[in-house]
Amino acid sequence: MKEGLLIILSLIALTSLCDTINQLFLKSAVDSLNFSPSFNIIKIFKFIARLLVKPRLWLGFVFSVISLCIWLVVLSKAELNFAFSADSMHYIFIALASRFVLKEKVTSLRWLGTGLIVAGIVLISLS
């Protein structure tokens, strides 16, 4: 049982990692377009059209498909309530990636929230 839990947690970590990589590619594709926020519908459509020809966007898409496949395997092994809650792990990866890959400033409030999520995942894994 303990070993099974470890495998499930590792698989969830893997989907979260794929999700994070997808987000990094998306972020990089969006940033490369220098789009200033606008609610003009024509501008938004033009933005999306330019985004769709970015190879990085499709690279990200590949990772989200991989993530979905691993997620389905997780669901075949674990209870939904556990898997869904543990999937909040991606908040940890996103915080780390924002800090170390994108060099964004991660505030103390955000680290505190991320810490609470870690504690929550430990609690649900113990139960």
Partner: protein, 138 residues
């Protein structure tokens, strides 16, 4: 540019996204349950499992819901700040366990509920920090 006030329309959109998010997970779980008893142990058994999962209508219902959530969120985020939207949208962290109990007959212990509330609190703090950052920046 972003408003903080939650109007009825935005609230309804957020509730819709909560319900859709929960149904996505329910549908995905259903598609995984379609081959009850089949255990994925290695890569080749995973391929067999995934082929069957993708043949399940539940999976495609889930994917349609993913697309719908994406469209709804584009609408939500063009109208309201992320730090306001995410805490309301995190209601799915409660809704998914409830659906698991009612429709999937899963059992949730008190300790697990405690963990779920820790996670919910953490997600809310993370989203509140996006407000802190945007007000710091400008």
């Amino acid at each position: 540019m972003f408003k903080k006030k939650v109007t009825l329309k935005i609230l309804l959109l957020l509730i819709a996204s909560d319900i859709l998010e929960t149904s996505i997970q329910f549908f995905f779980k259903k598609s995984a349950l379609a081959q009850q008893g089949f255990v994925v142990t290695d890569f080749s058994s995973a391929v067999v499992f995934l082929k069957a999962a993708f043949a399940s209508p539940f999976l495609w219902a889930g994917l349609i819901a993913v697309a719908a959530v994406f469209i709804i969120w584009s609408g939500i985020l063009s109208r309201i700040d992320l730090s306001v939207a995410v805490p309301i949208a995190s209601f799915s962290y409660i809704l998914v366990p409830l659906v698991s109990i009612i429709f999937l007959h899963e059992k949730i212990t008190a300790l697990r509920w405690m963990g779920i509330f820790f996670i919910l609190g953490g997600v809310i703090l993370v989203s509140l920090s996006s407000r802190e950052r945007s007000s710091e920046g400008k």
